[in-house]
Amino acid sequence: MAFFIDQLLNGLSLGALYALIAVGYTVVYGIVQLINFAHGEIFMIGAFGALSTWIVLGWATGGSTAWWNMPLMLVGGMLVAVLTAVVMERFAYRPLRNAPRLAPLITAIGISIFLQEFIRLFYGEIPGFPDAKAAIPFPQIEFFTGDAVDVGGQLINRGTFFIIAALVVCWAFLWWFVNKTATGRAMQAVSQDPDTSRLMGIDVDRIIVIAFAVGAALAAIAGVAHGVRFGNIDFKMGFLAGLKAFTAAVLGGIGNINGAVVGGLTLGLVESMAASYIPGQFGGAAWKDVWAFVLLILILVFRPQGLLGAKVVDRA
């Protein structure tokens, strides 16, 4: 039983990570019908932004690991990620808004490769920053990392708490933002019909930028959570995580924020359960990514609209 709960928590924390990233895919897709393939890289940049914040703070504090570093790191990571996403939208995607659908997708791949290589080659060149060609240990922040917590005899990793708490807070914030604020309602309007929204006086360009920014902020939180949970970050981490998060978004029904959360959690659980309970040679950690992608393909065959999506996706 303890093993099962372990796997359950593992799956949930992994799933929450996917969910946080998947929201970015889903929000952008819902509004501009663009698969922002470079979103995984925003997640990675967020983690590096947080790390950089900590390093810069360390110059003043002598490398303090007190708890108050964490909110500052989160803000720093979010700032860097949002900035990257907004610049990316402005200079790469916006000019292609009416181009054939292949064009933005290829651009997205280009950006993704560019950002990865940029971090790999140049992050370590900044004086005082570690070389990013290999994995970098993420700073151990007091209270957020450290020994597992004993909850009624069950040892639970602190990172797990962090991720799940982050997801709950972000989800609540998103619900409030999308449903209760004027901007959020404008986002809904644009996703339903951009032309009519424009006629109603909504600045569609601004809404698109906000969608990118919201997605990037959540991805940055996920990036920090990844660092806290797994202890290190590297320039490649966005690729697989982004792919999985996209799978999660499709699983939940792309364009649907709740769907992204449900899809992310489901995917995380499936992955961790498949790794522990599939018997024989095809079980185990070595195959868990394969099962996640098999799930993606199965979903596309049997329920292309996803778990919660109502609309059949039909875009060439």
Binding site: A99, I106, G110, I113, Q281
Partner: protein
């Protein structure tokens, strides 16, 4: 992001005469400067330090300078030459050449060429001090040519392709161009200095920009269209002759063979992406499937399947396995959406890599020896011809890689044949229809699903084919050779070269593969540069270097000038019928 126009039409109207003089003077001065020393010592590039003895690169610069001067001069006599009435046929041809447009392109090319050379000199000899006075003269001359040509009025679009010329003229022209290309490539490849290599690329770039802008390119492509078979056969003949230019050295042949494998795969991918418009991000997996199939069925001591069919059979099996993987992945996803297909193929590529890594006997049945792969794949032996042994033909030794080069050339020919025949068939038109508007195509009775699946499986089959040979060329097959970055690299070749054309993709693949081999700094930054390149290409020239015209139209449907230009070009047969 609009670049402001410095050389406005008003400015051109006022100063075009001065501009022409300045351009001519600049071009001539540049040609003269080739005889001056450009660098302080002979250590940078090829020796540029002599007064009176131009090095090869300086000589290439001289040609460029003369072309600028000539173009500017020809533009000048354009208006009055026609009244005099001497040498009428020549003038009639000359009037159709876009001398001015060509000179503008050449002005930019000349400036880029000399700036590049000066930068390389400065880098190699540490500082601009190493540039001798001749180099500065050349720079000033290039600047004069640039500004001068900018001030010219572009005038009418060239229409050289409308000129009817005798068949032999066209065939000779094709042959000459191909021969020139062969010599240039052979010369460039023998340079181990990255700076020289880059300069030659710049020279070729400037020259082709001139050829394209001046309308000579259109004439050549028209001639190529008319004598398609001649063009295709002589291209292959030239490629076939390439190993004989290498004097028995196998170093360049190794690169050339890798380039061919890469290009063949890219052309295969171009069927899927360029013709059918399906974005396949896991294409490298099909190449890998072919390679692993060939490796496990090879005579290697590490091969895990104890059945050794002849290589022809292996190739077919490799192609079929790849094609069935394509069907497996394509059939569920082709029904939904283009974007989904891209991501699913990406996921499939990852599944393939992980699976090959896991089939090591521990996490799965032992098929591939996991991450260490299958080494020691023996050389091919076809019809008693051993690919591992050097052969002497006409006194020139052709080494191991030359043998594989010839084999790859054959496979390339098959792939190009498949590509062009499909492109011009009912199937190819169906693909284009699907790419442009799936719903309309379906309404017109095109079997959308079947054709998409055919493109997908067909592309996979060709990749499997190429993979089987790659296994033997590379000697070993390792899962980590078949990662996503390689797929992205292939896609970059297709995008850069031009979606939907064979020659463009071959050019793109060659450049992408050659540059990192010849330029050290490029191999470190290559992925960074190519990522950036993909973004920039999509922004400014999504149709690629050598575009398919129909494709270009799709990407620029709001650019009315271009639409008109292409529409004028496209129905060539109609234009002829009317007149």
């Amino acid at each position: 992001m609009r670049i402001p126009t410095v050389f406005t039409p008003e400015l051109q109207k006022q100063y075009h005469v001065t501009g022409r003089m300045v351009a001519m003077a600049g071009g001539l001065l540049f040609a003269v400067s080739a005889y001056l020393p450009w660098a302080y010592t002979g250590a940078a590039l090829d020796n540029m330090s002599y007064l009176g003895g131009p090095s090869t690169l300086q000589f290439l610069g001289l040609t460029l300078g003369l072309i600028v001067a000539w173009c500017a001069a020809m533009g000048w006599i354009e208006p009055w030459a026609d009244r005099r009435g001497f040498a009428r046929p020549l003038i009639r041809v000359s009037k159709r050449v876009g001398w001015t447009r060509g000179s503008k392109a050449m002005g930019i090319g000349l400036l880029a060429y000399i700036v590049l050379i000066l930068v390389v000199i400065a880098i190699e000899l540490r500082g601009l001090v190493a540039v001798e006075w001749g180099g500065w003269v050349a720079l000033v001359a290039a600047l004069m040519a640039f500004v001068g040509t900018r001030l010219l009025i572009a005038g009418r679009a060239p229409s050289l392709e409308r000129v009817r010329s005798a068949a032999w003229v066209e065939i000779v022209a094709i042959a000459l161009i191909l021969l020139l290309a062969l010599l240039l490539v052979a010369y460039a490849l023998n340079q181990n200095d990255g700076g020289i290599f880059l300069s030659i690329i710049a020279f070729a770039g400037a020259l082709s920009a001139f050829v394209l802008r001046s309308g000579i390119g259109a004439w050549i492509s028209e001639a190529g269209q008319k004598h398609r078979t001649v063009l295709v056969f002589s291209s292959f003949l030239v490629a076939f002759l390439f190993p004989f230019t290498q004097n028995g050295s196998d170093a360049n042949m190794s690169i050339a063979t890798q380039v061919l494998v890469f290009a063949a795969t890219a052309v295969g991918l171009n069927i899927v992406v360029g013709l059918a418009g399906l974005l396949d991000l896991g294409y490298i997996a099909f190449l890998g499937a072919g390679a692993f199939t060939a490796a496990t069925l090879s005579e290697s001591a590490f091969a895990t399947i104890n059945w050794k069919p002849p290589f022809i059979v292996v190739m077919l099996i490799a192609g079929l396995i790849s094609a069935s993987l394509g069907l497996l992945i394509g059939s569920p996803t082709l029904r939904v959406s283009g974007d989904y297909l891209a991501i699913v193929t990406l996921a499939f590529g990852e599944i393939f890599r992980i699976t090959m890594n896991n089939l090591d006997g521990q996490s799965g049945p032992n098929l591939t020896h996991g991450s260490s792969g299958i080494p020691a794949i023996p050389n091919l032996e076809l019809f008693g011809f051993d690919f591992g042994k050097p052969h002497v033909v006409f006194g020139i030794t052709l080494g191991r890689f030359s043998n594989y080069f010839f084999l790859m050339l054959l496979i390339m020919a098959v792939i190009v044949l498949v590509f062009t025949r499909l492109n011009h068939s009912r199937i190819g038109r169906g693909w284009v229809a699907i790419r442009e508007d799936e719903k309309a195509a379906e309404a017109m009775g095109v079997n959308v699903f079947g054709l998409k699946l055919l493109a997908f499986a067909g592309g996979a089959f060709l990749a499997g084919f190429a993979g089987a040979v790659k296994a033997h060329v590379d000697v070993s097959v390792i899962p980590d050779q078949y990662v996503f970055l390689e797929s992205a690299f292939l896609l970059a070749a297709v995008v850069l070269g031009g979606m939907g054309t064979v020659i463009g993709v071959i050019l793109g693949a060659t450049l992408l593969k050659l540059l990192p081999e010849k330029l050290r700094f490029v191999s470190e930054y290559r992925m960074l540069l190519f990522g950036l390149l993909m973004v920039v290409m999509m922004r400014f020239r999504p149709e690629g270097m050598i575009p398919n015209q129909r494709r270009a139209l799709e990407f620029h449907s709001d650019d009315e000038e271009l639409v008109q230009e292409i529409e004028e070009d496209l129905p060539y047969e109609f234009a002829e019928e009317k007149s």
